[in-house]
Structures are given as C-alpha cells and as structure tokens.
C-alpha cells in the first residue's frame, strides 16, 4: 500500500520520485505558459491570463520540487517573501556602492534617453523616467527612504508605545486613565489629516517623516503593550518577584517586558507595511520627501502627469509592483510571526 511506502515523503502519500516528477512537469508547463504570455504572440487579452497561470504553475511546481528535495513541506511563500525583503534591504543598504544609473541629478541625464521601457536595455534594466533618470536606481533609493522612514517610525512606536503601555498596564488607576485618554484622543484624529497637518508644519525630511508617522503607531503599540501587561501582571510570577523584594521598575523591566515584547514585534512587522503605504500616500500627495529625491510615493506621482500612465505604464508599474511586493511580504511575515507568538497561545 502507498500508505506504508517507506519512501513516501512526509506530508504526502507520494514517493519522493513521484512528487519530484509532478513538480518538474508543473514547473515546466508554468515556464512555457509564462514564455508564451510574455512573448506577446497571442491576442492581448489572453497574455495576462497566460502569465498568471504560468506563475501559479511555476510556484506549485517549485513547491513540490523543494518538498521532494528536502523531504518535508517548506513554506515557499514565506521564503520568497523573506527573500524579497532581504534582497530589498541589501540593495537599499548597498545602493551607494552598487553600479547603478543616476537616480536624482536631472542635470547629468540631459543626454540620456527618456521613458525607456523596462527589461530591454542592459544599462537601464527597468528603463528610465521622463528625465532620463534610471528607474532601478530610483526604486532602490526610494526603498532607502521608505524603509528608513518606516523602520524608524516603528522603532519609535515600539519603544515609546511599549514603555507607556507597560507603565499604564502595571500601574492602572489614574496613570492608566490619563494614558487611555491620550491614546484614544490620538486614535480619534483621522490619520491622513494628522499627517497632512504635520507634513505642512514640519520640514519634509526623513527624520521628521519618521516622527510624524510614529504618531500613528504609538496608540496601537500602547494598547497592545497595556493589554498584555495587564494579562501578565495577574500571573503569580509577578507576585513571586515582588515577594522577593523586586521594585516596580524591576518587575516591569525584567518580568513583564520580556513577555510583552514578542507579540509587539510581530505586530510591528504588520505595522511596517501600513507605514510604507502611509509614507507613499504622503509622497503621492506631494507632502512627503520632495523630488528629485526618489521615494515610491513620488515615483508613482510622476505617472500621474498628463497621459504618462497610458503612454508609459512602466513609470507607474515599477514602483507600484515593488511597493506591492514589499507590503505583501511584510504582511505575510507579520502574520506568520503572530501565529507563532500569539499571546493567546502563550498559556504558560
């Protein structure tokens, strides 16, 4: 019987060989469909369908191939998401030393061709924009701005929100009341309007953007930290620590914070994705980092001028797809992290 086949791979009834064969067949079919779709031989409407079907097949096929190779199921999607984020972060970090085209100085690109389509020229892999600036370089420098701002904002939120939340949750009573009112007040202000007001008052610099966006994350973090602190401070280990002479500060720092941080970190990953979107929205409204310094938001804004979007869809699609993939990856990562470190799962 198949069930008792010792060669079967964990998680399936198939043997390794059968699994690998199916995977290879699916991946191959996927590649063929993808090639057909991209070559543009057929009717225009069919092409996107072919591309999507090809991608799905390629994904399913590689999933099975890896499954067979490692003898156990791997979360391929999570791997791809993490891989994308690592790649993006590495590119953003190394941007100044990478052999990229010009991303900002319009004067130096006067002789460069404008609106080059992507994937056709080696020196401009993702094409150029209306000023002849290199799209790849702009996307990577945009990632620098977007990621720095979001990470700074979320870190401020974690530290400030976490500290305030733990204090509120541990002291309760009046402290909690005051902090609760402040948090609710902050949550009651429509975030976009708050950001617009702040952006008009503050200089649009990376640091100021991070501070403005952190105001969005602080109330969430306060609530999360407070709720977890209340739950954990009922546990006997807090009483046990007090019964051994621990001060309030010590109880908070050494007994409560280590328990409160894991769920906050997984929340932070999800929050990052919404911050990236918020930052892009601000830039799109022209309130964020000012061009020519690129961010994903102001790159998308470029596509809005005249009929650029219809004439040169790549101006919109390049930053759009990168933004989409990044937000998707952060969300996926955060969701998996929450599954793992959900406070409800932490019974002990």
């Amino acid at each position: 019987m198949l069930l008792s086949d010792p060669r079967a791979v964990r998680g399936t009834l198939l043997t390794r060989r059968a699994l690998a064969l199916r995977g290879a067949a699916m991946a191959l079919a996927g590649v063929v469909l993808l090639a057909l779709g991209l070559s543009g031989l057929l009717v225009a409407v069919v092409n996107p369908v072919l591309v999507i079907a090809g991608l799905v097949l390629l994904y399913a096929g590689s999933d099975r191939l890896i499954w067979a190779a490692r003898r156990r199921r791997t979360d391929l999607l999570l791997g791809l998401a993490a891989g994308w984020l690592v790649l993006l972060a590495a590119a953003a970090l190394l941007a100044p030393v990478l052999p990229l085209g010009e991303h900002e100085d319009v004067a130096s690109t006067i002789l460069e061709p404008t609106y080059l389509p992507p994937f056709q020229y080696l020196d401009h892999p993702l094409g150029t924009n209306g000023y002849g600036l290199d799209m790849l370089a702009r996307v990577i420098y945009g990632a620098r701005a977007s990621l720095t701002i979001s990470l700074m904002a979320v870190s401020i939120g974690l530290v400030v929100g976490g500290a305030v939340g733990v204090v509120a949750g541990y002291y309760r009573r009046r402290v909690d009341g005051v902090i609760g009112i402040l948090t609710n007040a902050l949550l009651a202000v429509p975030p976009l309007i708050l950001l617009i007001v702040l952006a008009t008052v503050l200089d649009p610099k990376v640091r100021n953007m991070a501070i403005a966006l952190s105001l969005l994350t602080i109330p969430t973090m306060v609530r999360l930290a407070r709720a977890n602190t209340i739950a954990y401070s009922q546990r006997e280990f807090v009483l046990a620590a007090r019964a051994l002479g621990a001060t309030r500060l010590r109880v908070m720092a050494r007994e409560l914070v280590p328990n409160v941080v894991p769920p906050m970190l997984s929340m932070a990953v999800v929050v990052i994705s919404s911050l990236i979107v918020a930052e892009a929205s601000l830039s799109f409204l022209g309130l964020g980092i000012q061009p020519p310094q690129p961010t994903w938001g102001n790159m998308i804004l470029e596509a809005e001028a005249g009929d650029t979007m219809t004439q040169h869809p790549s101006i919109l699609l390049v930053p759009g797809v990168v933004l989409f993939l990044t937000v998707f990856s952060f969300n996926l990562l955060g969701e998996r992290a929450q599954q793992r470190w959900d406070p409800r799962g932490a019974k002990l």
């Binding site: 051994l244 002479g245 621990a246």
Partner: protein, 346 residues
C-alpha cells in the same frame, strides 16, 4: 493579644507575631472582611498549619502578614504584624522590600504560573541573591546550583539554563522552594504548595519542606485545605473559618480531639481508607458565609449542629480550654467550660 501560652514552648522570642489583624477589601458588593481579627505567633523552627476551606481567608492572611497586601485605596489593613521585631505595615515600601527574601519568603500555589515563562531557571534564583546578598554573577550562579541541588533537582547546573516549560510541575515547585530559600529567610509562608501537584509528588514536596525547615530552624506556615498534608508535618494547627481562627491547638491534640464543631466536622469529612466501599462521605452542610455580609454571632452557626440561640446573636471569643489550646465556641465539643483568653492570661 499574644499570650505567653501562644508561643511555642522554650524556643525564645517569636520570629513572627500577628495581633488582631484585619484585612478588608472594598468591592462593588460591599466591604469584604477577608481576615477578621487574627492573632498568632510563630517561634523559630516552629511549623504552623493553617487549614480551612476555600474562601476562609487563609491565602489573604498569608499575603497580608507578608505585607504583600497592604493598605490602599480599596484595601484596609489594621492590626500589627511583626517579623523579627519589625512592624511590617509601618515600614516604607523600600524597607518592606528588604524584608522579603532574607526575613520572610513565600512558596506559591501554582508552580505553572509562578515562574516567568520567558526567563531561565537560573535567573529566577540569581536575581534575589544578587539583589539582597549582593553576590556577583559567578557566586550567585554557584549558590543557585547549590540551592537546586538541595531541593533535590538532578543536574542542577544544566537546569540553570533551562526554561520553566522544560521542567515538570514537581520540579518547578522545587525550583520555587529553592527561590524562596535563596536568601535564607527566617519565616517561610507556603501557600497551598501542593494543590497543583500529583498526589505522589505532593508527599515529596511536603517532606522536602519539612526537612529544610528542620535543618535551617526556619519557622514555617503551611497553608492548606488538605488536612492530611498538615497532620504529622506541623507542630500546631490553626483552623480558620470565615476570616477568623476558630481553633488553635497542637497538631496531635487537634486531630485526636477537636473542640470546635467546625474543626470536628472538617476532620470528620476526611474519607478513611479503612471505610467500607460506598460509605457516604460526611460533608459539611451549607456553604461558607458571604464575607461581604457575614452572619451575626458565630459565623459557623448556620451550618453547626450544636448551635443554639446564643450562637446566633453573640460571637464567641477565642478562649483557652486547655494548655496551649484555644477555641472560639460557646459550646465546644467535649471541652470544659471556656475561659476567655484575657482572664486566663492574668
């Protein structure tokens, strides 16, 4: 009103003295008198069993006498508690913290929740050592390993780096005992230390506690609703009912001849192994009183078979019936007529 008789004979000054202690909580239902006029004293090396059913105020008493429950917006504590001569409830929070660990320590009910899940076993032990005894990192680790060894944990050095979830319930309770012992307290309050454990492990833990207490001449309060746990491991027993001590006696005497009807009923309700199968258990009728609204007179009267009119109107006072035995009852079981404590002391 601590009398000379209250003291464990011949062991010098008491390490713990509780006089007329009251703990009241203000709740939406009214003022709950969880501890209502408790006096007791404990000599060095003495073990006192504190028994009573759930809700009788045992744990609140334990926490109040440690000072863990102190006066606050919704809590009122009156009376005095002296640990090593210091009145706990008159100390500042800072002074009180210095007491916890070196003077008095507590073992909690549930070892599953009394260890921090994200901190290693070693840290639980080294924290108080470094805080109170000022030991260095390495010395504290050394002491921690010795403590684990003393409470019977094999491979103590390896355990230091493990997390609580890697240990069984019995092991964790041993760790909690080691934590409580870390600063060598003169009084240990064990608040139902075996309730959450298997029966076989219960005996081991109780024997361990008794052994350590004897070896260090540490005074122990063993809070329990399990009479079996108290019998044979304590010098004296105080029976609590509805926030008050109703009978206090040397353990042997109490189990041989309880004077208070509640103590008698409590002992009578323990099933005997020698009883024939299907023997009906002797439960105590009724439920403990609502402590926000306790009955006038004797609080046990509504459930007591011996209650008469006097019991329902006039609360009985703890009175001495024999040497080192006190009981709060108008009509004690086979006891001589009660003499109020105050008069006996004179």
């Amino acid at each position: 009103m601590t009398t000379a008789r209250d003291r464990f004979d011949g062991d010098g000054a008491p390490v713990l003295e509780v006089e007329d202690l009251h703990t009241r909580f203000t709740t939406p239902r009214g003022v709950v008198r969880a501890v209502d006029g408790v006096s007791l004293s404990l000599a060095p090396g003495e073990t006192l069993g504190l028994v009573g059913e759930s809700g009788s105020g045992k744990s609140v008493l334990g926490r109040t006498l440690m000072g863990l429950i102190a006066g606050g917006p919704t809590t009122e504590v009156t009376g005095t508690v002296r640990i090593g001569g210091q009145a706990v409830h008159e100390l500042t929070a800072k002074q009180r913290r210095r007491l916890w660990g070196p003077e008095i320590a507590m073992v909690f009910q549930d070892p599953m929740t009394s260890l921090n899940p994200v901190r290693r076993i070693g840290v639980h032990l080294t924290d108080p050592l470094r805080l109170h005894l000022g030991l260095g990192r390495r010395e504290a680790r050394e002491r921690a390993a010795e403590l684990l060894d003393r409470v019977g944990i094999p491979e103590p050095r390896r355990r230091l780096d493990q997390y609580p979830h890697e240990l069984s319930g019995g092991m964790r309770q041993r760790v909690m005992i080691a934590v409580a012992l870390s600063c060598d307290p003169s009084v240990l309050v064990a608040d139902e230390p075996t309730t959450a454990l298997d029966v076989t492990v219960q005996k081991q833990i109780l024997d361990l506690l008794a052994g350590i207490a004897a070896e260090r001449r540490m005074a122990t309060i063993l809070i329990s609703h399990d009479l079996g746990a108290v019998e044979g491991r304590t010098d004296r027993v105080a029976v609590m009912y509805a926030g008050r001590i109703v009978e206090k006696a040397p353990t042997k005497d109490l189990f041989a001849a309880p004077h208070h009807p509640y103590a008698e009923a409590l002992i009578g309700s323990v099933p005997a192994l020698s009883a024939a199968p299907h023997t009906v258990l002797r439960a105590i009728d009724g439920t403990p009183p609502d402590m926000a609204n306790p009955p006038d007179g004797c609080r046990f009267a509504p459930r007591c078979g011996r209650a008469e009119d006097r019991c329902r109107t006039e609360p009985p006072v703890l009175a001495e019936t024999a040497i080192d035995r006190t009981v709060a009852c108008h009509f004690p079981v086979d006891g001589p007529a009660a003499v109020p404590v105050q008069e006996a002391a004179r």
